[in-house]
């Protein structure tokens, strides 16, 4: 899942991005509204964590422009403004959720995950493909009832494939959503991650679930 965090406090930006990355999200960060809007326009994020008080362009104006451009990316407003009027205003301008500072980072994570689920049109936290189950709330994976231990990025890759099960996911999409379009990762990182994931989920049952569609990408499916 790829998240954009727009927050002018460098400390908070660091805390939120570190916390999200360590929980398997690909995170882009921005310290001001103009750059944040540019990133939101040019990338396909699963959710945006957006501060309201920002230099150059405030968060609400950013949100309005984003919606005018037709971008429906789910937005979590993160702000020190806590009145009912502020919340109502933010939600009416197109925000999907609102979190008041100071906040618990666990709550932030839960809300970001909920927004990501909604991004794929699902309210369910359990995804199943054949005997493979992904509990997105507990971030646990089982196959034929046996738990499978995954690294955060492997888990994110599996959850992404599970959310798009039955659809072919291109390598570029995986790079963008799981690795955040970072240029430093190796060119075969996606292949390596897919290979590692295949090995781990086949421990409980050798039947292949991740299929390579040559020239197209990968698909998580029962057959």
């Amino acid at each position: 899942m790829r998240i954009l965090v727009v927050e002018d406090s460098s400390r908070l930006r660091q805390v939120v991005s570190t916390w999200l990355r360590r929980n398997g999200f690909a995170v882009d960060v921005s310290a001001d509204g103009e750059e944040g809007l540019w990133l939101a326009e040019t990338n396909d994020y699963d959710a945006i964590v957006l501060d309201i008080m920002l230099p150059k362009l405030d968060g609400l104006a950013l949100l309005q422009r984003l919606r005018k451009l037709g971008r429906q990316t789910h937005v979590l407003l993160l702000t020190a403004k806590d009145t009912v009027a502020d919340r109502v205003n933010g939600l009416e301008l197109g925000a999907d959720d609102y979190l008041v500072k100071p906040f618990a980072i666990e709550e932030l994570l839960a809300r970001v995950r909920a927004l990501c689920r909604r991004a794929y049109g699902s309210k369910e936290s359990r995804l199943a493909v054949a005997d493979l189950e992904v509990d997105t709330a507990a971030r646990k994976v089982t196959r034929a009832g046996k738990p499978i231990t995954l690294q955060p990025r492997e888990y994110s890759l599996l959850e992404y494939l599970a959310r798009r099960q039955g659809h072919i996911v291109t390598r570029a999409e995986i790079e963008e959503h799981i690795y955040g379009g970072a240029t430093e990762f190796a060119s075969n990182a996606v292949d390596s991650a897919i290979c590692s994931l295949r090995q781990k989920i086949s421990e409980g049952n050798p039947a292949a679930l991740i299929h390579t569609r040559r020239g197209l990408g990968y698909e998580l499916a029962a057959e």
Binding site: S9, L12, G33, P55, D58, A80, K101
Partner: protein, 475 residues
Amino acid sequence: MKTIRQQLTRKLLLTLGLLILGGGFGVYAWARTVLLNQSDAALRAKAQAISSLTEQKGPRLKIEFSDDYMRGFQQGAHDYFEIWQAPDKPLERSPSLRGAHLPNRHGPPDAPLIWNLTLPNGEPGRAAGIAFRPQQSQDNRHRNIPPIDAILVVASERHDLDRTLVIFQMVLAGGGLLLLAATIGIVPRVLSRELAPLRQLADETARINATSLSARFPAEGLPGELAPITARLNELLERLEDSFARERRFSSDVAHEFRTPVAELRGMAELAIKLPDTRAANADHETLAIALQLEAMLNHLLALARGERGELAAKSERVVVAPLLRDVCRWFHDKAAARGLVVECRVDESAATDTDPMMLRSILTNLLDNAVEYAPPGGTVEVDASAADQRLTVRVANAVDQLAEADLPHLFERFWRKDAARSCDGHAGLGLSLARVFARALGCDLTASFAGPSRLAMTLSTTEPAPSKPAGFNL
């Protein structure tokens, strides 16, 4: 609780009731006097007629009544008379007396004695008595016979008079009662209608509370007495609403400015607990920086509160302005250079004044900080200072690109920022308000004005001699 309407109603009813009662008595007394005068005039006319019919013939008196005239004095009639030749010598009386006598009382001919009496038949009556000298017969005048004085008392029953007075009393009492009833019915209604604006004003005033300060009293169609009251109340409400809004904004701003550093502290602590390996090497420095930021904000707020309560005590000592101002300008040199700004400091070397050096330094620091922080890059920040006759003037001018004339009054408001798009850059928006509070404690005024197109000038100037109180507050 007594209301004006109740008191007015009670007093008006009492007053009108007394007026009606007094008026009734007055009218009755006047009517009774008129009727009695008419009755007395009739009695006097009868006495006059009888006396004119009395003639002295020789040593005797003789009365020549016509039958028509005597009809009113016959038995069963209601008029009576009796004539005495001397006080103890009755001469003649009317048949209506049936042999009884009238009291022998009298006055002179031109002022008959008139009184109420009980007639011999037991009925109430009214009598007129006069002493007169009957006319002499022709014969007596030739014979030169001495005249005889006579006494005449004429009386009439006063049934008709008393009945008329009783009917008049009843009419007056009935009319008075009707008038009183009408008054009782009308006065409260009239008062209620006429005092409606007052009641409406009271109701609207009672409805005002902290959540309805935007309400205003109607200014149109009010009585002249209430118009100035509502005008003042509306002004008061406006000031109160402004004050409440300012307080709410202040509370909200305080909470807002504290939330971000607290969120930083909490986030950093939670992250360090959950993911110890992510703890940055400079985490303690960051924590200290946040603590110092919070402390500075608290100190500013406390100083503002003390200043607004008039509890800031300024020292007074001789301060040479030039070195202090140059020191402050030097402090901002690097920050200004980083933003492409040049700070030009022009100060009269001999300028000196009696003031509190720490407060003055704090004011100048805030002004320079504000100028260097918000001036568009590439310009000049001009600092001019002079002092003459114990009056200090410092002017800090810089270019501004977003400020409008309407923003000037807000510059000194706590937490005020021009733009909603702002950052947590360590500027909470307290500096200028604090500078103004310090300026006032030093007997100075701190004002903002435009020194030209898009050029803001902040001017600190002495308005009164420097105070000489002992220092009571450390910055």
